[in-house]
């Protein structure tokens, strides 16, 4: 488990991180969400050992690794939000170079490089020059690069930015694969729909602080339970409306788009449905309105930050 605790970082007079804390379980794909300037990259750079935190701790299995360059270099695979590719170097050579940077040479390095290149579906580009690759390919190559020392934690800064939908799906597959291989992955992104599909846990940060974090299903449930239930009924609405209003558990009800919108506590929805049916109200649909991560994001972070 990796635990980031009360991380603080100040740039001049600007407090970029102001007591940020995160808890990431082993095997998680953890979505790290926040508006621009929230401090995501700063946090990741601190985790990668590229930046010194003013205070706070990063625990890996209860050992604080902050300031211990060797541990950090061993456990973390960091992929920044830029590529960093060389001219005049082929894909395979690029990988071999980074293998060498980890002390692997010769046949071993070559085999490992090939393996990783295959893993990110770049097998057919092995002999291409790195700087001629497309954006999506570079992104995958960089992912392969940060896997070269077999880190148990991957820290990926906006890996999906600028990718077309098809490439994003590919990336997602790769990440799922990596998760199955036992890696813990921390991804930052603004693209929330992406994270919703990929991650099993998220943490929302704003202004250098954690606003909300936890299992994605739990969070979604919590949020959704505040949402109204939309009920469609056959025939006249008035009858049903009157009946529903009489029920004690119902907090509010109104008609919206020819359907009933009922505010009710999370646990009592099944009971309501039973009552409706028993009272001969023909229910055609009964669903709780789903919020997506966007609304969640807007609600927690505040609209002004995201929308102009």
């Amino acid at each position: 488990m990796i635990k980031i605790e009360n991380l603080k970082k100040r740039f001049g007079r600007f407090q970029a991180l102001d007591g940020l804390s995160l808890e990431i379980n082993d095997g998680d794909i953890f979505g790290f969400v926040g508006p621009n300037g929230a401090g995501k990259t700063t946090t990741m750079r601190i985790c990668a050992g590229l930046l010194k935190a003013d205070s706070g701790a990063v625990y890996i299995d209860d050992v604080n690794v902050l300031g211990k360059q060797n541990e950090i270099k061993q456990y973390f695979g960091y992929m920044p939000d830029f590529f960093g590719v060389y001219d005049n170097l082929k894909v395979i050579e690029y990988m071999e170079f980074f293998a060498a940077a980890y002390g692997m040479y010769g046949k071993d390095a070559y085999n490992l490089s090939c393996e990783l290149i295959e893993l990110v579906n770049l097998g057919d580009k092995k002999d291409f020059m790195v700087d001629t690759l497309s954006r999506g390919m570079k992104q995958r190559l960089c992912l392969a690069r940060c896997l070269i020392h077999n880190p148990s934690l991957l820290v990926l800064d906006e890996p999906a930015s600028g990718l077309d939908p098809k490439t994003r799906v590919e990336l997602k597959e790769i990440l799922k694969n990596l998760q199955q291989m036992g890696k813990t992955i921390l991804i930052s992104s603004h693209i929330l729909t992406e994270l919703a599909e990929m991650c099993n846990a998220i943490g929302i940060v704003d202004k250098g602080k954690t606003v909300l974090q936890g299992n994605i299903d739990t969070i979604m449930n919590d949020i959704n339970s505040a949402n109204p239930i939309i009920v469609g009924v056959e025939g006249e609405l008035d009858n049903a409306l009157r009946f529903i209003k009489e029920q004690v558990e119902v907090k509010d009800v109104f008609v919206e788009d020819g359907k009933l919108s009922i505010k009710i506590n999370g646990q009592e929805d099944a009971q309501l449905l039973r009552k409706l049916i028993m009272n001969d109200i023909s229910v055609t649909s009964f669903i709780r309105k789903q919020s997506n991560l966007e609304t969640l994001f807007m609600n927690t972070v505040g609209k002004s930050e995201v929308v102009e």
Binding site: G49, Y78, F82, V85, E93, A100, A101, R145, H190, T193
Partner: protein
Amino acid sequence: MKKNAITMKDMQTASRSNKTLIGLIFIVGAMAAVSIVVYAVMNYIYTTEDYSSMSLSTFITVFSVMSYVIFFIYNLIIPSITGSAVSAEREKQTLEILLTTRLSSFQVVWGKMKAIMYKMTIYYVVMFPIIGIVMTVGGVRFTDILLVYVTIIAMTFMLGSAGMWISCVAKKTTISIIISYFVCLFVEVGPFITTMWITNAQVSQAYLKNQTPVISVELLLLLLITPISTIRVAMTNIVGGSADLRTLIFDSYYFDTGNINHPRVFEFLLNHWVILSIGVQIVIGFFFLFLAAKFLNPVLSANVKKKGRNKTANIQTSRARRNKNTTDSGETEEITSEEVTDSVETISDNTETTEETV
């Protein structure tokens, strides 16, 4: 020697770069031109003067010319390749990635330095035939060529490490190269000018007072850092003859007439000049290399970025604005191809601004 990933990569990319080819052509061209001139001069001496009047000093002159040219070429090359060594990695945004690998920041700069010394060796090997031809005339042995090589590598190491440090500190490659050239110039001529100026002053002062001038040996120590002094003495040793530091660096007159404040130190310096100055240059080289490594160490140099804070903040806001566009187009489920290219454009814009930030 242990393998260094950076060295291997640098050599690999350099072998494919046009710059290397241009560099080699330049060097071969320059050396060929010089050897033609030297040959013409020699020919002139042979034909106009009596063969028997060919004195050793003629050879010395020829070799001085050669050594100056070699040194001039190296002084032209070293700042331009070392000055860009680290800042180019920074501009390609690969520096940070390197620092997250198992390589320490010293291994990064040391690897780069090694690559530069290899390149200089290749340049020397390319010049080898031309040097050889010229040297043979003076009856020069292989070990002499080796000695010249060692002095050149020592110079490369010192000037290169200084350039490397500058390249770490300076944000932009061009600025770093320009500063490196100035440093190079300063190292080559600064000590000469200082020493000569002070010695002159001492001598004329003494004459004014009708005293015998006393030259301070300490002044000579300053010259140890100057690679030109090394190569000149080395060349003199190769050619043989009476010329030593006294005649090469100062007007021997001072040393004949003036007293030396520490004659035995002076003697020692003269006899071991080449090895001493090479030693000094290597020590200075390591000093700058360690400085550079220290500077690169991310955890130690976290304060470096504070200065550009205001600028960064501005860029950050414009970046934020742009990122917003990307986010919007990224979030819609169905993305038209137009939007995709649009967002890709904004992103590549972003990368440019980040480069500035970095």
